[in-house]
Symmetry: C2
Subunit: 274 residues, 2 copies
């Protein structure tokens, strides 16, 4: 781990990332010493920092990443955390906060060697996802709703699907969601909630470029009960076909169909590049 | 500052409070070496930890606070931060996370010697407040919406009033809101968003016990334009009468009326105890 370019394991308690979740992060799969989807991750990170008025030194960050990758195994995960640093009076930031820049290497979790091929079981989480139109899309540090949702998954479910208090389906706890409904490939719109995932963006571009445009829609739970295919994705584990969706009233069994197959091919095309 | 009972200034980067906002905090006014409203703060903190399944050792915390107050000036602010500690796999906590317990002493900010007597100017913030029915009421670490709202207040406004994306008025950036509308004392309900402030709770109890029950209502911006009195409060600065509310279309001038006067008396009654 490097903190502002230097080896370290601790941060000042005063860091605003700790006090207020005042920062953002990226989680990136490392394949053969290379950061997969790096241009997309970098763009999302830079855009988020601009929106939050956090100064991001991309050259210094690139230096940190080069150094970290040199010292790390060939395959795994890199997490980048950027915070507004220390300072300010309460919620209001000071004028002179110096950004905190952290890069960390992790082993791949076992899930990545796991259930992909045969598909996964998912359920709807009770815990609602937070709604905020200016924070939606961002991968900011305040993730308590996702933490609580994850705590519901200890009974044989690989992922949980999250909805807002008003019943809109948005995403998985650590993934974005796609479904085939009435023959159309759709994904929830993220206007009000959710993380705009890098794999989601990549898949939408690939599907569009091959004549299968993805519709971004307002979706409710009932809509998913009409799905013929469903898959979740993120940039670390790739694409997870869903073969069983459990809700209060029913268990929906799904096949791994041709559209999901295409998503898996797109995933492989990218992961094979490295 | 004490971290798990020992002097310190840093926490491990791995702390879940830093990664995910997985924790809660309290900010308490210290008067003559005593923690004002301590029973209410302690109850809110304990309830939040129960809800989040974070283990809280209240005896150890009390020991930390006693030690901190002995070493600190007679008057100021104590901040308590409790997190789930380190561990787990991504959002999902580990089974063995050890709670992180931090107590810090701060000077009182200048605002506490400031605008109270003559009243304050407030405006509506553009930044919406996050909506989440299970997190509402809690003072959890993820406060990015409030940080961004605070950044709008650099032009002569002492506080900003926050609304949800659907237009519900909830609170100030660091305060709760009361208003007198059509002769009734009201405060926004916090079912879906907002912090259930200790001063708010205290004032509601005091008003009720003196024959002036407070109505918790769904309020929209337009409702506030009919207010005859308005005040903000939190447990550190007490009660701030509002004398000017600026919205896009109008400036509402307000008097410091008899109900606000009563709130100021209730505040003084408590603060004088110490």
């Amino acid at each position: 781990m490097l903190i502002n370019g230097e080896p370290g394991q601790t941060i000042p308690v005063s860091d605003r990332g700790f006090h207020y979740g005042d920062g953002v992060f990226e989680t990136i799969r490392v394949i053969n010493k290379q950061l997969s989807f790096w241009p997309l991750h970098q763009r999302r990170l830079a855009n988020a920092c601009t929106l939050l008025a956090i100064t991001l030194d991309l050259v210094a960050l690139q230096g940190d990443l080069d150094k970290l990758l040199t010292q790390s195994p060939a395959n795994g995960i890199v997490k980048i955390i950027i915070t507004r640093g220390s300072g300010g009076r309460g919620y209001a930031p000071g004028l002179s906060s110096a950004t905190t820049r952290i890069v960390q290497f992790h082993e791949l979790p076992p899930a990545n060697n796991g259930p992909t091929a045969d598909g996964i079981r998912v359920k709807f989480c009770q815990q609602p996802l937070s709604v905020n139109s200016t924070l939606s899309g961002l991968k900011y540090l305040g993730r308590l709703d996702l933490v609580l949702a994850s705590m519901e998954l200890d009974d044989g479910f690989d992922e949980g699907i999250m909805t807002t208090d008003s019943g809109q389906v948005i995403e998985g706890t650590r993934s974005n969601l796609f479904a085939v409904i009435d023959g159309e490939l759709v994904t929830p719109n993220l206007r009000n909630a959710g993380v705009a995932g890098v794999m989601r963006e990549y898949l939408m571009e690939r599907f569009a470029s091959t004549g299968n445009p993805v519709q971004e829609l307002d979706l409710e739970r009932e809509d998913l009960s009409n799905a013929s295919e469903m898959f979740l994705c993120n940039s670390v584990f790739g694409v997870w076909p869903v073969v069983e969706l459990v809700s209060q009233n029913q268990i929906l069994k799904l096949e791994i169909g041709s559209i999901t197959g295409l998503a898996l091919e797109f995933q492989d095309e990218e992961f094979r590049l490295y």
